[in-house]
Subunit: 496 residues, 2 copies
């Protein structure tokens, strides 16, 4: 995952036309550039059309509130979490008390996280509290190593993963319901088995068209989509859900993520159909703009673009005062007379993310637009609200010990609704088979029978091949069968 972490602004080569389309993919986020060379805000409605997702509308939010009995999070109320795929499916499951889980992640590219990184995790924390569902958080230290342009080695990304995990825990996740893992730490077993089931079903052409890979892309990055996809399936986590794959593959998952991650899961949903696994549902969040304004997102590597989770209130006030793009007018007189533009104003935008009170937010909008609220005033208000958020975070972060982290990262059954997660399983094939269906463990002696059966099947196949061969030999001499894998159907991403 790469949420909220690519460097910010867009290059405008001097010798080329300045206008450019917006680019949103897992490695790039930038708004369109107009004829005037200025970056436009990201057009999220256009993204929904391009990606084939659905907007989260009032009807869906009403149903969400009715089903869960909880007021939608301010991110949902304010279209910050603005788009989804199959959220209805998850609400259906919740209504019927059928199991599902939540999956989100982060690419640990450095130890320093900023408040933009927190957005998907705050949304995830809220959803996991509302739904009381098991939660897995994937730290893609392998991906970050594979795309890293520096000379940091693998172990350094693993260390970033641990530091980031502490920040994530400080968002308030419940240790009973949450499993955090890093790819380097957890790779293998059933996760790896699913990774190959997925990678077998994605052709190079599909990966290219989905992610824009070229001949200079490294083969680790080409392959990575299968890793990010595999976490979407309950059968990747035997410690959490048990080893009955017929059931665990049918536990659906809800993925709260930033919109740039959607290409991974479009592909995942196509492959899920082929594997007869549950398709993951998604909720997509907008990016928190960089201080420099709409059309970009915060970057941890450009200090002036972001509010870091380690910043002091003084630093936060200074950054917002100095760098935050303003929708206010040039002069005090003009502002008083004509009013400001809250829609493009970064401080107002941050208040939308972090100020809980809807009425107060509406009042600020009105006052700023009328000009009765000044730029200096909205910046001060924003700094106060963000500082409170960050200070609260820092208080929780200071209490996270290595022992707590180890406990969060231990593969284990989670506790939900007072029950162990490996005892709450979907009903497959008409009746619940929890703990009843034997698992194909290739190391068990019980598999000897199966091996014998396979041997017989092969003997038959060999016999058939022999007959075929002799027939054809008689007709025209030697024939061949290539062992090159069959090209897989190219999934139609636009329809998923």
């Amino acid at each position: 995952m790469e949420n909220q972490d690519t460097p910010v602004p867009v290059p405008i080569p001097e010798d080329q036309p300045k206008a450019a389309e917006q680019v949103i993919d897992p490695w790039n986020v930038s708004g369109a550039v107009g004829e005037d060379g200025k970056i436009k805000p990201i057009d999220y409605v256009k993204l929904v059309e391009q990606f084939g997702t659905k907007l989260i509308d009032d009807a869906l939010l009403e149903r969400f509130e009715r089903v869960t009995g909880q007021k939608p999070h301010r991110f949902l109320r304010r279209q910050i979490a603005f788009s989804h795929r199959d959220l209805e499916v998850i609400l259906d499951k919740y209504e019927k008390k059928e199991p599902f889980f939540i999956y989100t992640g982060r690419g640990p590219s450095s130890t320093s996280m900023h408040i933009g990184h927190i957005v998907p995790f705050e949304l995830t924390r809220y959803l996991s509290d509302v739904f009381q569902a098991p939660l897995v958080i994937m730290l893609t230290d392998d991906e970050k190593y594979l795309i890293g342009k520096n000379d940091l080695d693998v172990e350094e990304y693993e260390q970033f993963a641990r530091e980031n995990a502490k920040d994530i825990i400080a968002c308030g996740f419940d240790i009973d319901r949450t499993f955090i893992f890093s790819d380097y730490g957890y790779m293998g077993g059933d996760l790896y088995r699913n990774i190959t089931r997925i990678s077998k079903r994605i052709t190079r052409a599909t990966a290219d068209s989905c992610f824009g890979f070229t001949s200079s892309t490294n083969i680790g990055k080409v392959h990575f989509a299968a890793i990010q996809a595999a976490t979407s399936f309950g059968s990747s986590f035997p410690e959490i859900f048990g080893t009955n794959k017929a059931q665990t593959a049918k536990i659906p998952c809800l993925i709260p993520c930033a919109i740039d991650q959607d290409p991974y899961f479009r592909l995942t949903r196509d492959v899920a159909s082929q594997l007869n696994y549950s398709k993951p549902s998604l909720i997509h969040a907008r990016f928190l703009d960089a201080l420099q304004g709409p059309g970009s997102k915060m970057s941890a590597s450009i200090d002036s673009s972001s509010i870091k989770l380690t910043d002091t209130p003084k630093q936060i006030l200074k950054k917002i005062t100095t760098y935050a793009f303003s929708g206010g007018k040039e002069t005090l007189e003009e502002h008083r007379e004509k009013g400001g533009n809250p829609d493009i104003d970064v401080p107002y935008n941050y208040l939308k993310f972090f100020l809980e009170d809807d009425d107060e937010l509406a009042q600020i909008y009105t006052d700023y637009k009328k000009g009765t609220m000044l730029t200096s005033e909205i910046k001060k208000k924003c700094a106060d609200v963000v500082s409170t958020f960050v200070t609260d975070f820092q208080g929780r972060r200071a209490k996270i010990t290595d022992e707590m982290l180890d406990e969060f990262m231990k593969p284990r059954a989670l506790k939900v609704h007072g029950q162990l997660s490996n005892t709450i399983l979907p009903i497959v094939g008409g009746k619940s088979t929890a703990g009843k269906v034997p698992v194909a463990d290739p190391n068990s002696k019980a598999q000897a029978k199966k091996a014998e059966k396979l041997r017989q099947i092969e003997a038959k196949k060999a016999q058939k091949a022999k007959e075929k061969e002799e027939k054809e030999k008689a007709a025209k001499g030697h024939i061949v069968t290539s062992t090159e894998s069959a090209p897989m159907p190219n999934p139609d991403n636009s329809t998923s």
Copy 2:
């Protein structure tokens, strides 16, 4: 690994020119096809030129015998193991009593192995006995699943791996010195860390040019080269060699394999240089021809092409009598008069592989060429020798229990020269650091300091980025840095 397991003969489409070049790669083995539509024997000398390897010559064999004090195996004496890369490096290490290990493998595509599959393992057993070096045997159940065209699932390939491992053990491997693993069983940890170090350094273009991948190749197969490569490095096996990566990455490895696997290790050697890891050395074996003759190799899936390890002496005699391509003359009279051609004669060829006595083999060659030995006689002799080999094998195979298999497959320190393999380590940087250098374990608290250091480095980087950004902003507005991974240098395979 795909040794000795692709179906045999070459397709000759009716509507195309019949002549074709020989094709040898990890998935295809076929001799050239002449203008007459006939398959020619594989031209191994041409392969050596194409691949850039070296022939194993008399001087090298003399040195081998001098250094090891052992008579070279009949495969080495008869140019069956005919080619190598850096075998001298391994002999140097052996002379200096410096550590190295041996690596070979198999792609478990079915439960039924044939005598052709045994060739690299017989060579490996001999080398591991002569060198008394640790040995790792990789069963690429993941590869076989990824390229499989049937609808077998992952667990079935894992079962094939276990069945094949029993056959391999029956070749006579020493449990003290041998670790057998399947990719599904062992994937993760330091093996996976090395896999990403390798995959980061192979571009899609390099993989394409090395393996002939196309846009319809699945991304699992595209990525697999990194997996097969990672086993070449001691640092992938902390249980065997310990966790001091500075040392374990410098333990060289010798890979006995069939020649079709060379492309993987050409790539591996290039990447090893970039990683400052030891380059693997190789010994390449020829293929055991299919019964149908030179220019093909045995296939387990075409019964009439191969002698199975489960065949009875009666079946073996029948197969050789019925199917074995003969270099004898059409009639008894003509054969007596003009003599046979042992060079293209399959029974003679098999005797070269399986008859130990050099003088007896030479006598057979002479007698058959003169016509004093008849086709029926050489076929009978061949069937006897092969039957003895197979019957002996079956006797050992019957004694392999699941418990023994589990012991071979347990990650552990091996015993060589009466010592544990994790105590025999190369001297790195002037002095042996066995057990002294702390390992970067990201889970240890001692890493906290390192994290702090990293944090400081990043803070500096951020500061620099900030300065750069502000400077450039002042000059021309926003700039961007792409996080797309840098294209890796395209290794020049021809020089490795």
